[in-house]
């Protein structure tokens, strides 16, 4: 009898505690984030969880598994309530019907108007909006001020054109055998669409075709930039290791203090400040061929609601919140992450370091290519983009490389 009573009491307690738990987390949401954006997303989610009764449970997905996981999840009806992924997949996901239409909500949101144009463009499909910028990243140019000074250059005057990068790199290379003027990761397609293509775009080129009838790699910017890179490579201004760097050294080289100039991402700033606090470096926009031409690649993650989400209204509330000043400043800027609203670049957290302000403003001048099959055209290890890049720079056949790149990209876009 006693045992039965004890069991009964335990069962009652379990039921009660489970009911309490259900009540407490009745509107708990789930969110998937790709690993690269997990750190930044965690700041925002922590802030949301500390200020809202409805909690979000964040799950990190390895970068290269996100597409597979979301695609199979949508088809199986097993998806999170929110998903944060690399923005370049947005066109493919929107076309596949994976995402909930957010047009009415975002257009009615006063903060959405000031979101960087690149995020608005990438999240638009057939006139409808399917997502918002979430944890941004953007490409910039960094230069080592100490090396500039040693080379007799003005440390406060970064190169204004690709030609000036070349000239400055020559002077820095002259400093010694292990000091190099410039660096790029020659076997990394993603690194170069991020840090090199904006130089071409700034010079007026269009990179990728939206469909099979659209042209790829238009304008002289592509050729001008590739020619300059080829010359810098053949003149030995770039370390030999650049040829085989698949991205593993994309951030490591500049930290050594022996690289004069490099195109990179805004994320490098906090890494440099933490890992090599004595490195005296500057940040500027990625330049084009002529003075005054600037651009950047707007990257990072977008946030969207997958079809099948069980808490759509609440998920929409989160997206509206993440665009507010509170989330953008206290969730992102406070943690050295640039906001997706460029107008918030001048804020109290960035005031101490103008380099972060420059980075935040780069989002306002940036581009992101709106294309299907981006991975095929650019990110894949056999993509026409990386093949063109390597053939032009390391084999020296710039015209042949561009011609082949155009043909292959059009072929992929037409699929």
């Amino acid at each position: 009898m006693t045992t039965r009573r004890t069991c009964g009491a335990l069962a009652a307690m379990l039921i009660a505690s489970s009911a309490l738990a259900t009540a407490a987390y009745a509107d708990a949401m789930t969110m998937w984030v790709r690993a690269s954006g997990a750190n930044a997303a965690a700041h925002l989610v922590d802030l949301w969880n500390s200020t809202h009764p409805d909690k979000i449970e964040l799950t990190t997905i390895p970068d290269n598994q996100m597409v597979t996981k979301l695609a199979t999840g949508v088809q199986a009806g097993d998806v999170p309530d929110l998903v944060s992924f690399d923005l370049i997949y947005m066109p493919d996901f929107m076309k596949a019907g994976f995402l909930v239409d957010l047009t009415a909500d975002l257009k009615a949101n006063p903060n959405y108007a000031s979101v960087a144009q690149a995020y608005k463009d990438i999240a638009t499909y057939e006139g409808k909006l399917y997502g918002a910028g979430f944890t941004p990243d953007v490409s910039i140019l960094v230069w080592n001020k100490d090396l500039f000074k040693k080379a007799g250059l003005d440390p406060d005057k970064p190169p204004q054109t690709v030609g000036e990068i070349h000239e400055d790199a020559k002077k820095i290379r002259a400093l010694g055998s292990d000091t190099y003027g410039f660096y790029f990761s020659g076997a990394c397609p993603g690194c170069n669409i991020f840090a090199t293509s904006p130089m071409m775009v700034a010079a007026g080129s269009k990179m990728l075709p939206a469909n099979g009838n659209d042209d790829a790699l238009t304008g002289d910017g592509v050729k001008d930039v590739l020619e300059t890179f080829k010359e810098m490579w053949s003149e030995g201004l770039v370390p030999k290791s650049a040829q085989t760097d698949n991205g593993a050294n994309f951030t490591g080289e500049f930290k050594t203090g022996k690289i004069g100039i490099q195109g990179t991402g805004g994320f490098l700033l906090s890494e440099l400040k933490k890992d090599v606090p004595n490195l005296n470096f500057g940040v500027t926009f990625l330049p084009g061929v002529k003075e005054g031409q600037v651009s950047s690649f707007v990257g990072g993650d977008v946030v969207a609601i997958p079809v099948g989400s069980k808490h759509v209204p609440l998920a929409k509330k989160f997206i509206a919140w993440e665009l507010t000043d509170e989330a953008q400043l206290e969730g992102l800027a406070k943690n050295n992450i640039v906001p997706s609203r460029p107008a918030l670049a001048d804020n109290k957290y960035f005031a101490a370091d103008p380099r972060v302000v420059v980075t935040a403003k780069a989002i306002g001048v940036g581009y992101v290519p709106w294309v299907f099959h981006f991975a095929d055209m650019v990110n894949s290890d056999s993509s026409p983009w990386i093949n063109m890049f390597q053939r032009a720079i390391f084999d020296g056949d710039v015209d042949g490389a561009i011609k082949e790149g155009r043909e292959k990209m059009k072929e992929i876009a037409g699929q």
Binding site: F93, N246, D381
Partner: protein, 278 residues
Amino acid sequence: MAPALLFVAVFVLIPLGQLVATSLSDRSLLGGGKFIGFANYWRIWNDSSFWRALEFTAKYTLVLTPILIGLGFALALLTVDNTPLKRLTRTIVFLPVVIGLSSSSLLWFWLLDEQVGLLNKLLVDLHLIGEPIVWFATADLAFWAVVISITWKVVGFGMVLFIAGIQSINPDILEAALMDGASYWGRVRLIILPLTRRVLLLTTLVSAIGSMLAFDQFYIMTSGGPRGQTFTAVYWIYQNSFISFKLGYGAALSIVLTFIILVFATMQIALTARSAET
């Protein structure tokens, strides 16, 4: 019997059936897809990148397999006796086998790095080379870098199998040969080698099939480069299925590769079995 059949059906036959069905469709990783008959297979016929990848995979298999067999057998001969030193040597040679392939590939990727890699530093310090070798700059060098790393990683496995084979030979036979005045190499050639033929077959099969399915080492160490010259067949299947989202085409490629491996494995087993009988 029934549980075994059920196991095979659930984990082999049904997935294989689904793979065949997928290969006959234009299914995308992003969903959708309709029946397109043998269009994917026709496309494979004209896919020069796949045949190039297959050719590269065959070259890799033909180079690596004899190295693994020869070196494994030689190491087994050297360490077959159970002395403490030889047992220690066996353990050291076998250790890399228990490391994950991805981990060992990353290890070698950094060992061979031209700036911070220990191997380059060693070769420069020994004045064997003037300046560090950029191992992944050319397809040939990248190929040999992977071959070296995989030999280090798996040669211990063949060695252990050969040791087991050699130790299972009746010692009386070897002793009789010794008393008849057979030299060491005579015993190796006429007794040990023929009596370990089954182990040789097993090791060859495992090495050849493993090499034909190579992926991790190239994905991590060469990324298929330079300029796509070190893509293996499985890497190409991965590219199509998960980067280009073409699941249907990837499935068809997988079927073709499976068929090719099956044909070669059957031929190899038949040939070795015939020579064992003679």
